[in-house]
Subunit: 205 residues, 2 copies
């Protein structure tokens, strides 16, 4: 859900008085994404982002409501389909999909850091924007992966004696957790562990 205030991107709502505002919002978002990708979530205050973008911090709250909503918007926009460099192959296993994702994430540590911050914030009370983002992402990701698991159990690429929902949750958890370990210590066997999980999920010989 890149932007829930735009109800339907099909009918271009950007017209008249709205056009400039929406364009400006997008402009700010694009600039903020660059800042985050290169510098991570240090200097993450409304004021320092505003400084980089070239507006006052009050302008940011005008467009985004709060810092938290700005952060969510930055993350979602930067991972929106179309901005991702390469779509995963259609026959990739769930773990292979996450391996590819981990590989491309290494180029943009700042966004992974932002993701981690958002999830941690979502666990606290009184942060509805972050919570909505995090629960929505996990729910959708698990559902999508579980569907892939079911399909690949049919085609024999994944063993049939495992619960697709449990596999989906496990793969997401392993992927996130290993990403964290690797960011803290590059000697953590991120790829080896993911490859291991992939192998364990394939049918026994």
């Amino acid at each position: 859900m890149p932007d829930e205030t735009l109800e339907n991107p099909e009918q271009p709502r950007a017209r008249g008085a709205y056009a400039k505002g929406i364009a400006r919002r997008q402009e700010i978002l694009d600039r903020a994404i660059e800042v985050f990708a290169e510098r991570g979530s240090d200097r993450t205050s409304l004021r320092s982002i505003a400084r980089e973008v070239g507006v006052t911090h009050a302008a940011l709250t005008h467009y985004f409501g709060s810092l938290e909503e700005l952060l969510v918007a930055v993350y979602e926009e930067s991972t929106a389909p179309g901005r991702q460099p390469d779509a995963p192959a259609d026959d990739a296993t769930p773990v292979e999909m996450m391996i590819e994702s981990a590989r491309s994430n290494r180029a943009i540590p700042g966004l992974v850091q932002l993701y981690s911050t958002l999830v941690a914030t979502a666990l606290e009370e009184g942060h509805p924007a972050a919570r909505t983002f995090a629960t929505g992402r996990f729910t959708r990701l698990r559902a999508r992966l579980a569907e892939v698991v079911r399909r690949q159990q049919e085609s024999g690429r994944i063993r049939k004696d495992v619960d697709p929902d449990a596999v989906a949750a496990l793969v997401v958890a392993a992927s996130d957790g290993l990403q964290t370990q690797w960011l803290l210590d590059e000697s953590a066997p991120q790829h080896e562990a993911l490859a291991l999980l992939d192998r364990l999920l394939r049918p026994a010989l």
Copy 2:
């Protein structure tokens, strides 16, 4: 490393002028743990913690140096051996150990929240206390679990064709990630996914 300023707990350094300060520090820590366990990491400011404990916020920095170091001390003290309700069985598999840990964590969501915050903070630059805590915890935990894996591969409880270090990283990652998913959404199959991982790691029939 609960307190690196105390070089050796064997020779009781708490004497004379030090005794009161150490006792007071412990008192503050104990009270802070209660606050976190019940209320989570909301109200986490130096000032609000000080209010609960009954001192000024400057007293906290006197004992702990900074907010970050206080948070680390709270988490480490609250998970110190002896404060844990029950030691894991000696013959438990790594995943079973994490299952037991997850079970007991459900009683103290605030501390899990604190852990998550600390790890997220550690990923940012310029937070040495959190980074030291997080890297230390992951390194030690992985080493400990890898050792268990090796032992249990010998005794036939874990399949021999997996790399102990990769297994350790995978189990830690899955455990952390599933904990997060469950905190955000209790319908996430935390236990099922851990049980699945446990089964996958056992020798094929």
